[in-house]
């Protein structure tokens, strides 16, 4: 933690299932496990409630990382929610590379309500990873210089872009 203390906090969004990981985070807190504080938790009723677009929207809006945590497979409070979630989240993770968004900025995992220690480990590791990656680049160009560079690079591709037909 000491190295991280010197860095400024990054914006990490956590979508946590109410029935497991949210409780797990609580367990970790009650047990006074030390955790980094970059994560902003959003409690959801089930990992199956998480539309992958929540994650995309967070990343495009400037989140430096997004962590999803639900119940272990076979342990869903609603029997099947996390089975569907697993497929959706895996596809999102696999899709990110084509967009130029570093797929390491998004992770999903399973933590139960009793796994306080595991929660501490997950959140510490993920936060460390995001700090290693640093702040995410803005999708919208910020300055006129950035716009100009992009536009010039685009113009260099000219009228005969080979990437479609």
């Amino acid at each position: 933690m000491s190295a991280q203390d010197e860095q400024r906090e990054l914006r990490i969004v956590g979508f946590l299932c109410n029935w497991c990981s949210y409780g797990g985070a609580d367990t970790a807190g009650v047990a006074r496990f030390i955790q980094p504080t970059d994560l902003r938790i959003i409690r959801v009723p089930c990992s199956g409630r998480i539309d992958p677009l929540f994650i995309v929207r967070a990343l495009l809006n400037g989140a430096d990382g997004v962590l999803v945590s639900g119940c272990h497979p076979r342990d869903c409070h609603y029997a099947e929610g996390n089975f569907y979630a697993r497929r959706r989240l895996e596809m999102l993770k696999r899709f990110l590379p084509i967009t130029g968004i570093d797929e390491r900025r998004f992770e999903y995992t399973w933590v139960s309500a009793s796994e306080g220690q595991r929660w501490q480990h997950v959140v510490t590791e993920f936060t460390r990873r995001i700090h290693e990656l640093g702040p995410a680049p803005f999708f919208n160009p910020v300055s006129e210089e950035e716009w100009a560079k992009l536009a010039l690079d685009g113009a260099a591709r000219g009228a005969s872009c080979a990437c479609h037909g």
């Binding site: 992958p52 677009l53 995309v56 929207r57 495009l60 809006n61 497979p73 076979r74 099947e80 089975f83 569907y84 697993r86 497929r87 959706r88 895996e90 596809m91 999102l92 696999r94 899709f95 590379p97 084509i98 967009t99 130029g100 968004i101 570093d102 992770e107 999903y108 995992t109 399973w110 595991r118 480990h121 997950v122 590791e125 680049p137 803005f138 999708f139 919208n140 160009p141 992009l150 536009a151 690079d153 685009g154 009228a159 005969s160 872009c161 080979a162 990437c163 479609h164 037909g165």
Partner: protein
């Protein structure tokens, strides 16, 4: 050429035989100039006379099917179009007994972008087009140009594994020998770029998107139509702001809602008025779906899209260690 003429006559005869029992049959006719076709809605013998099946006839008629719910219509379909129909059937968005499929074994359709690049003058100045067996003879701004059909075929056709309709009530033409799908070189080159370069590409490319939603409305699988979350007033998924990030957000919506459903007909990219290479995204996602679920949308009836089902033990999703 004679082959195509006899195929056209065969197709017309097949449609003529069923026209009375159908609300309409969707095919193609010549559009606003000799280089462009446009969808044709056949309701009478006179309409039928205008039918064309040349390689200029590119539009996917499956796009219109959901607008005819409860009515019985006919569709002239190429291989890729039939995949869209199958996917719509699999998702119970249309009924099999409400569509009659006139299948064409397809040798590919043109890419207007490639034609533009190959012509000596702007294709807007086209005066005449003559279709040869393997080439297009185009008169443009007083100049004659001969383009090899193979060189102006759409990318999706060059790498098409399903040129013949996978479902049809009437099949016109000769079936092709089995083919292997491949990904175009530009796709591999783009995927090999680093994150920074890819991000910069989308930032610039998305800055020219005007959010006309042609890509969405032309997509046969975009069935929410008037109720798309992108234009919903209740949940503001997107700002009206026309910035690269908002424009890209829409593409994310489109891609995520097509995961495991996209039949790679290429209509989104064809329809884009500002030439955004959307198939880069589609082909990439489809590849992921194939790898993880062994699934390809629209190649077999009675399959469930992979995100509408699950397996308790997923064979190809590795639980990550923490």
């Amino acid at each position: 050429m004679s082959g195509e003429v006899s195929q056209l006559e065969e197709l017309k005869a097949a449609i003529r035989g069923q026209l009375d029992s159908l609300d309409c049959v969707i095919g193609w006719e010549q559009g606003y100039d000799p280089l462009h076709a446009t969808p044709l809605f056949i309701r009478s013998e006179a309409d039928l006379e205008r039918l064309t099946i040349s390689p200029l006839a590119v539009h996917n008629p499956a796009t219109y099917t959901t607008g005819f719910k409860g009515k019985k219509i006919g569709l002239v379909v190429r291989g890729c179009h039939s995949r869209s129909v199958i996917e719509l059937l699999n998702e119970k968005l249309i009924e099999r007994d409400e569509v009659v499929l006139f299948g064409l074994c397809c040798d590919g359709v043109v890419s207007q972008r490639k034609i533009r690049a190959a012509l000596p003058a702007d294709p807007g100045f086209v005066e005449a087009v003559e279709l040869g067996k393997d080439e297009l003879h185009i008169t443009v701004a007083g100049e004659q140009a001969t383009l090899k059909l193979q060189e102006v075929l759409a990318d999706k056709c060059l790498h098409c594994a399903y040129p013949d309709p996978l479902v049809a009530d009437v099949l016109i033409g000769e079936k092709h020998a089995p083919r292997q799908a491949a990904s175009p070189a530009c796709q591999d080159a783009f995927e090999a770029l680093g994150n920074e370069e890819k991000l910069a590409f989308w930032q610039d490319t998305m800055s020219r998107c005007i959010r006309c939603y042609a890509c969405r409305n032309v997509c046969p699988m975009c069935v929410c139509q008037d109720h798309c979350i992108a234009t919903s007033r209740d949940h503001l998924w997107m700002s009206q702001e026309n910035t690269p990030v908002e424009n890209f957000m829409f593409q994310m919506i489109h891609v995520s809602h097509l995961t495991g459903r996209c039949t790679e007909c290429g209509e989104c990219e064809r329809a884009c008025p500002v030439d955004i290479p959307l198939m880069l995204l589609r082909r990439y996602m489809n590849k992921q779906v194939r790898e993880v679920f062994g699934h390809q949308a629209g190649i077999a009836l009675d399959k469930t899209p992979p995100l509408l089902t699950f397996q308790v033990e997923e064979a190809r999703i590795k639980e990550r260690d923490w």
